[in-house]
């Protein structure tokens, strides 16, 4: 494989990412399943880099999951998103930072739609005004929060306490990245590195000392499929797509799966558990499963945060094998403690324990 070819592609997909003053919108899945990740992002941006990131308490869902499971009409979706743009305008922000890949895809799709069908923009303005009395501007800069971490990856590298290197062997860790379909497959120019060889996570991995592993099903969907997961009868679709990815990945002996999209993180984590339960199959080395982390969790580990404050223990696949490879001295006793240090019950039947 020739790196030069990838670099050439990357040079053609360098999106502009704002430097400061972000209007932040949360992800329903990331905040529910990986709240420590969103917390890390805000903390890092505000307290480490000293950036202005504003969260308006009144912002809501984008209704994206409803839209992609076909119960929310496109006009409704556009108007809900327009409301976020209105909140942003009212608070005086022009750059939006989006914590969810599907939201990011939807925002991009809507803005592209407005470009192609200006009458839809006008209709949305009317709807929003009628419903809320609000008016909006289209953001000047739109970034997924991983774009922003990518932008500041070298700042993180400079602060690194743990590089992505196997402390025992001295070799870089093998890291699989999963970008999430809605990040750039719809609009490659809006993603760092485009759609075929996206570099948003790859750039972080390399900046932090790891090695990016390509494998045949790298571009394949995690299998969320919206209605294909939301309805129990369809979950075989979701499960099977993840299984397809992991079977293809297995020979590459990945130490970690790094994900961009909160949904993918959840599925690639939880489906490993389900497949193990159903079929007795695991995809890691020595009978273990492969930890799946968000980019915020990984950035936190690189910067030396306490893994248990990042919330990596609240995945099904536990991260201890990875922490050991990284040589991170973690405190097992601190793993299931409350904020003020009270011992909580210890959950049973987790994976990789």
């Amino acid at each position: 494989m020739k790196k030069e070819g990838k670099k050439k592609i990357w040079s053609e997909y360098q999106k502009e990412i704002a430097d400061d003053h972000f209007f932040y919108v949360r992800s329903c899945i990331r905040q529910s399943f990986f709240p420590g990740s969103e917390q890390f992002f805000l903390n890092f941006m505000r307290n480490v880099l000293g950036k202005d990131v504003y969260e308006n308490p009144s912002h809501t869902t984008c209704t994206g999951i409803g839209y992609h499971s076909d119960i929310v009409p496109f006009a409704t979706l556009m108007t809900v998103v327009a409301r976020h743009f209105a909140l942003m305008k009212e608070s005086g922000y022009k750059n939006i930072a989006i914590s969810c890949v599907t939201s990011f895809g939807i925002y991009t799709e809507i803005i592209e739609t407005w470009k192609h069908f200006p009458e839809e923009l006008e209709k949305t303005r009317e709807y929003l005004y009628k419903a809320t009395g609000r008016e909006f501007d289209i953001p000047e800069n739109m970034a997924h929060t991983s774009d922003i971490i990518y932008k500041f990856r070298n700042e993180i590298a400079a602060l690194a306490k743990n590089l992505l290197i196997n402390k025992k062997t001295g070799e870089p860790l093998n890291i699989v990245e999963h970008i999430g379909c809605h990040y750039s497959k719809m609009f490659p120019k809006h993603g760092v590195g485009g759609a075929e060889f996206p570099n948003v996570l790859g750039g972080m991995i390399e900046a932090w000392g790891g090695k990016v592993v390509d494998y045949p099903e790298r571009r394949h969907c995690c299998g969320f499929g919206f209605r294909q997961y939301l309805v129990q009868a369809n979950r075989g679709y979701s499960l099977s797509n993840t299984a397809k990815k992991f079977s293809s990945m297995k020979p590459f002996k990945a130490d970690l799966v790094l994900t961009n999209c909160p949904g993918c993180t959840m599925f690639m984590d939880k489906w490993q558990y389900t497949i193990k339960e159903m079929e007795g199959i695991v995809y890691g080395e020595e009978g273990e499963s492969i930890p799946v982390l968000t980019y915020e969790e990984l950035a936190g580990l690189v910067m030396g945060y306490n893994p248990w404050d990042l919330g990596v223990q609240y995945h099904m696949v536990q991260s201890e094998p990875l922490l050991r490879k990284l040589g991170i001295a973690y405190d097992p006793d601190n793993k299931f403690k409350t904020k003020d240090g009270r011992q909580m019950p210890v959950p049973e039947n987790l994976i990789n324990v």
Binding site: K2, G5, K8, D214, P216, E217, R219, P251, F252
Partner: protein
């Protein structure tokens, strides 16, 4: 009236330029033939065998070399034409050396560029070691050996048709016309060098429009056992053994298909040559949606430009094979002579 004393400048010393230069010279006209490379011959020089009769391209090159070896032809190589300005009835041809050449008529035979296959990112050309183009394969044919990046002989080779053609994603809506027959020819030549190799062509339509093409296609199936699968390859990746894994739909049975290959050959299409863009802009020459020069009339003026005194020969107007290029180049001679002899034009 210019008559035979007039100066004709031909831009581009490939098949079309050499043929028209040679024919004009033989008709008694003075011709300046300008080629940007150090030698003439254009793309023909990079090809090994030509279809449909598998003639060695060197025979064709020799024919062209002999043709332009004529006292009426001034050959200027290593000189790039940057623009053409019309002053009254004559032209100034500007070159990168600063030399200005006066002309009474200009023939543009600026040819084509091969589509840059790395632009089809999903095929990984320039990234995956054993993804090559049709042009790369011709070089291997000339050497007489087909080898993988690591020197091993490939056992299973895929060919993808329409790379950079009929594809909105790269901005080329047109068919490059020659890639299908190139695929068939190359598939057969692979089998001649590697008897045991298995070859799979992935196509959307097989366009065998030229003389003896369909026969060649049939021969490739009958004698060489080439396999044809109707489905555009959607993506290419590599597995742990560095084998290429391709995904396509076998559209005639309606199911996705996965296959491992040792080597993949991309049938790169034809695009308007980069070097003719500045010429087109400086002289106000119309180009079509396909970005090739747009002839004055598709039936009666396929050699004429929208600017009087500018003529076209060959693939600068549309994809053509060598036979068609030579015919087009001979036709331009008749138009140019008519123009040169017609006093009031």
């Amino acid at each position: 009236m210019f008559s035979m004393d007039g100066q004709i400048v031909i831009v581009g010393g490939g098949a079309a330029g050499m043929e028209s230069a040679g024919q004009l010279a033989r008709s008694g006209y003075h011709v300046t033939l300008i080629e940007k490379e150090t030698i003439t011959g254009g793309h023909v020089r990079n090809w090994y065998h030509l279809f449909p009769d598998r003639r060695d391209s060197r025979e064709v090159i020799k024919y062209f070399d002999d043709l332009i070896n004529h006292k009426n032809i001034t050959l200027l190589t290593g000189l790039k034409v940057e623009g053409i300005d019309k002053h009254g009835m004559s032209f100034i041809v500007n070159t990168n050396s600063g030399t200005e050449i006066k002309a009474d008529a200009v023939i543009l035979s600026t040819g084509f560029d091969l589509f840059k296959s790395e632009r089809k990112e999903e095929y990984g050309y320039g990234i995956y070691d054993n993804v090559i183009t049709s042009a790369d394969l011709e070089v291997m044919f000339r050497k007489g050996e087909i080898k993988l990046h690591n020197g091993v002989i490939p056992g299973k080779i895929g060919i993808i048709h329409c790379v950079g053609s009929r594809d909105e994603k790269v901005g080329n809506l047109y068919c490059s016309k020659l890639c299908c027959v190139t695929a068939v020819k190359q598939a057969m030549e692979i089998k001649e060098i590697l008897e045991n190799a298995r070859v799979f062509c992935f196509y959307m339509d097989i366009r065998m429009g030229g003389a003896l093409y369909e026969e060649l296609y049939r021969e490739s199936q009958e004698k060489y056992g080439i396999n044809y699968i109707r489905g555009k390859v959607s993506e290419v990746s590599v597995n742990i053994d560095n084998k290429l894994v391709i995904k396509a739909e076998d559209t005639l049975v309606g199911r996705p298909l996965k296959m491992e290959l040792d080597m993949l050959v991309l049938m790169a299409g034809m695009e308007m040559s980069e070097s003719s863009k500045s010429i087109s802009e400086s002289a106000g020459l119309a180009t079509g949606e396909n970005r090739f020069f747009s002839p004055a009339d598709h039936h009666f003026g396929s050699n004429k430009g929208n600017v009087e005194g500018v003529f076209y020969a060959g693939t600068c107007t549309a994809p053509m094979n060598i036979t068609e290029t030579i015919s087009h180049a001979r036709a331009v001679v008749s138009d140019v002579i008519g123009y040169m002899n017609n006093g009031d034009r």
